[in-house]
């Protein structure tokens, strides 16, 4: 392989593999991605993987077993830059919705009983930054193709990625949609990271919050807004927690 090319690794921890799949879904650009960088490891796409020093590691999924704790620490040691891709890596994903450890343990027992796992012990799902330093976060469930390609391109050229630091509402206005909150629908656009292109609202459906909380998300204001629209407290809290993982933990502790 070319020595001048950046060494890249793409890793999956626990999740739906959607972020890695989305990279495979870059049909037209995929061959260029493989040409532009030295893809050292991408288990979903190839068999000849090399686990050595890396310039950039893209990591998807939450840390959910002891084996994954070791794996993510090993990736950190080998990689100059770690990019968390998707909400599972960034916030723990849907599986981090059990914020309380006891709650998680009880639920684990309900599904798997008292069985001792022989290969790796499970741990309460957490985002990767619970264990290692993360340099950049790419939100999404799964990540967006445009945002991934833009980030990949900038990193390849040695520039920091430019991320969207605004909520879905901004993109929604660009798309000239009518506000669904004004129509009384439980839309999570105001607290959700942009980048999806306000896709649900474009389809006349309220935002479910799947790209995770935007930086500085004002959950309190969204909570009161939905209260005013007549939704009940439990419903709002559960709805906001569905995809927010650890990103909503502070708010839920207060309310």
């Amino acid at each position: 392989m070319n020595k001048d090319k950046l060494k890249i690794g793409i890793y999956e921890l626990t999740g739906c593999a959607g972020d890695a799949l989305l990279i495979l879904d870059c049909e037209k650009e995929l061959i260029d991605i493989f040409k532009a960088a030295d893809i050292q490891s991408f288990v979903m796409a190839k068999s000849d993987n090399i686990e050595g020093e890396l310039d950039v590691a893209f990591v998807e999924g939450s840390v959910s077993t002891e084996k994954e704790v070791k794996e993510v620490r090993d990736i950190r040691k080998r990689a100059k830059v770690i990019v968390a891709i998707g909400i599972c890596a960034s916030f723990g994903g849907i599986q981090a919705a059990f914020l309380d450890r006891k709650d998680w343990k009880r639920n684990f027992k309900k599904i798997y009983g008292d069985l001792e796992m022989i290969h790796t012990k499970p741990v309460h799902s957490k985002p990767i930054d619970a264990y290692v330093k993360v340099d950049y976060y790419l939100p999404g469930c799964p990540i967006g193709k445009e945002q991934f390609l833009a980030t990949f391109n900038r990193i390849l050229r040695g520039n920091p990625p430019e991320l969207y630091r605004f909520p879905v509402c901004v993109e929604c206005k660009w798309n000239e949609n009518d506000c669904l909150l004004n129509k009384g629908m439980p839309c999570l656009g105001p607290v959700t990271q942009a980048g999806c292109g306000s896709i649900c609202i474009n389809h006349n459906l309220p935002c479910v919050g799947c790209w995770g909380p935007v930086e500085g998300a004002n959950f309190t204001s969204e909570f009161h807004l939905l209260r005013e629209k007549g939704f009940d407290v439990d419903y709002i809290k559960k709805k906001m927690a569905n995809f927010s993982g650890t990103g909503i933990a502070d708010f839920l502790r207060k309310y």
Binding site: G18, V43, S64, T65, I111, V123, V208
Partner: protein
């Protein structure tokens, strides 16, 4: 003892591995492990609204995202008594056909084909098969385009909702999809001939049970409210538990399933094998040209079956779109029900997918999700065992690793769904002692001696049991003593160990401890008593049973137990005591 292992299965979706342990001339263990961490999705949905459940569950898996959505929608609509107009059903079918094309073309060209033409990945393969790789990418992109049109985006789109869709495509969008589908036909023909004419190895080959959805009106298709089994049985979707009986194993976060105590397979091959006769038009011609008896017994033909299904999907798309064009866009069906229960059965690209829910006071109170890969794990292990043992018998030990890899990949496992790939291990000397200790660790074992005392070494099992009894050991029985076979299985969690002479084609007196299920998979080893008694066992019990086998020197009628076998009996007695 040697262990052949593929710790990280590559070119599959998710994190898993497969391992085989080889002790001399036999394979003593095969495990398909899933390292993907537990996500507890079924529990996550409890207390959520039906709408939120439909948002969350597709996140189980990115490749089968729309199948999960579809299964959840069908289940919820049954539970809430929502009847959707024809256009909704057609648009859902179109969306599902898009997913089949996307998933099958990804698997066939990117993940499976490199093995058959000797490349580590599709990008490297592009150097020799530039045309195929390029057009396959376009085909996959076309599948993605349909998924995006129907769901809003490539993965985890939210446009399909309970009662219909948020938005419908324009007439131009639909006509473009139809025209594009017709344009692809030459490459679709090529795909079928390529994958149906590949030289699939003849091992592993053994009968299995194929299970899939039974589409209504005797048609081919990917959804239905009934489940059809290759034995001829048809089960209503609601009664899926009589079929799947999920259980948990300690080496995987995916649950395992068995049908009447036997492993079964789901997926494209199961569908083609059960429903292939229902294909119409050009797909029927393709089916008649290529389908043969080997497809029913060799899991590697799943690749060929997927190619046929791509053909079916491309032939079906114009029909669906023609019907859609005649119908108006209906508003989302509203519902008032707050309570109910429903089960939705659809075919995900890799097989039968079941979602079952109960709704109480408007919130989800019960969730059960059975994924295709979870149903296939037992058969994956069984076929890997057969492949490994057959290759070992043929003296092709060095081929085992790659063959197991090929088998697992043919199943197109979706590991995220079920919760990377192969390993071959050599057993250490006297591995049976370690195994016996492991069994004792699970609970005090019950021993059953079996065999024929008048046929030389075949009496070894009975002789061993007799000597154990003489030593004053309790919980030791022989074949004749057990009148009610069922009683054998009423020992709670205590492991059951059958003592028997087993022909592993090794040196006489060689001792081995093997899980009972492997003996049952291996026709050459099976003792007639074993299939008979195992018929009354359930899966958990079967999984908790072992055979302590001694290699006989002779099975001559009227003969005495040979010297090596006598030695073995003494060694075993010392070890047990």
């Amino acid at each position: 003892m040697k262990k052949i292992s593929i710790d990280h299965l590559s070119r599959v979706e998710g994190n898993g591995g497969i391992s085989a342990v080889i002790d001399g001339k036999k394979v003593t263990d095969v495990k398909f492990s899933i390292y993907e961490g537990p996500r507890l999705v079924e529990r996550l949905t409890l207390g959520k609204t039906p709408e939120e459940d439909v948002n969350i569950v597709p996140r189980i898996c990115a490749i089968c995202t729309l199948s999960h959505k579809y299964a959840a929608l069908r289940a919820m609509e049954k539970a809430l008594s929502v009847k959707v107009p024809e256009k909704v059903s057609l648009f859902r079918e179109l969306m599902h056909l898009g997913e089949m094309i996307e998933s099958h073309s990804l698997h066939l060209y990117y993940l499976a084909l490199p093995d058959y033409v000797g490349f580590p990945n599709a990008i490297a393969m592009a150097s020799k098969f530039e045309f195929e790789v390029k057009i396959a990418l376009e085909m996959k992109e076309f599948g993605n385009h349909i998924m995006k049109t129907a769901s809003g985006r490539f993965i985890h789109g939210e446009n399909p909702v309970i009662g219909g869709f948020g938005k419908y495509p324009s007439e131009e969008d639909l006509i473009w999809i139809k025209a594009r589908a017709i344009q692809f036909m030459p490459f679709v023909y090529k795909t079928v001939s390529l994958f149906c004419e590949l030289d699939y190895p003849d091992c592993p080959e053994e009968e299995t049970i194929h299970v899939c959805c039974n589409p209504s009106k005797n048609e081919y298709g990917f959804a239905g409210d009934e489940i059809i089994i290759s034995t001829g049985e048809i089960v209503p979707g609601e009664d899926y538990k009589s079929l799947t009986n999920e259980f948990i194993v300690s080496h995987s976060y995916a649950k395992h399933s068995l049908y009447k105590g036997k492993p079964y397979s789901v997926g494209a091959l199961a569908r083609i094998s059960n429903l292939g006769e229902r294909l119409k038009g050009e797909s029927a011609k393709m089916y008649k040209k290529y389908f043969n008896e080997r497809w029913k017994i060799n899991p590697l033909f799943n690749n060929a079956a997927q190619a046929l299904e791509i053909f079916y999907a491309f032939e079906r798309i114009p029909e669906v779109i023609n019907k859609m064009l005649k119908l108006p866009d209906p508003p989302i069906v509203e519902y008032k029900a707050q309570n109910g229960a429903g089960t939705g059965t659809v075919e995900a690209p890799r097989g039968l997918l079941i979602h079952s829910y109960a709704i109480t006071d408007g919130l989800v109170s019960y969730t059960d999700i059975i994924t295709p890969t979870a149903q296939n794990t037992e058969d994956v292990e069984r076929y890997c065992y057969i492949a490994a043992q057959t290759l070992l018998d043929r003296g092709d030990e060095d081929k085992i690793r790659d063959r197991m890899d090929l088998v697992v990949r043919a199943y197109d496992p979706c590991i995220s769904c079920s919760a990377h790939l192969a390993e071959v291990q050599k057993a250490p000397v006297d591995d049976w002692m370690t195994k016996l200790e492991e069994i004792k660790g699970k609970g005090s074992p019950v021993f059953v001696g079996i065999g024929n005392r008048d046929q030389a070494d075949d009496g070894a099992g009975i002789e061993l049991a007799l000597r154990m009894k003489k030593w004053g050991m309790k919980d030791v029985f022989f074949e004749e003593e057990i009148e009610d076979k069922k009683s054998l299985w009423q020992n709670g969690d205590r492991p059951l160990v059958f003592l028997d002479a087993v022909n592993f084609k090794e040196d006489p007196g060689q001792v081995s401890v093997i899980p009972l299920v492997f003996i049952l998979h291996n026709a050459g080893l099976s003792h007639r008593f074993l299939p008979f008694i195992t018929a009354t066992a359930n899966y958990g019990q079967l999984k908790n049973s072992y055979v302590l086998g001694i290699q006989p020197a002779s099975l001559e009628k009227g003969g005495e137990i040979s010297e090596p076998v006598q030695m073995a009996i003494r060694k075993i007695l010392e070890a047990i005591h």
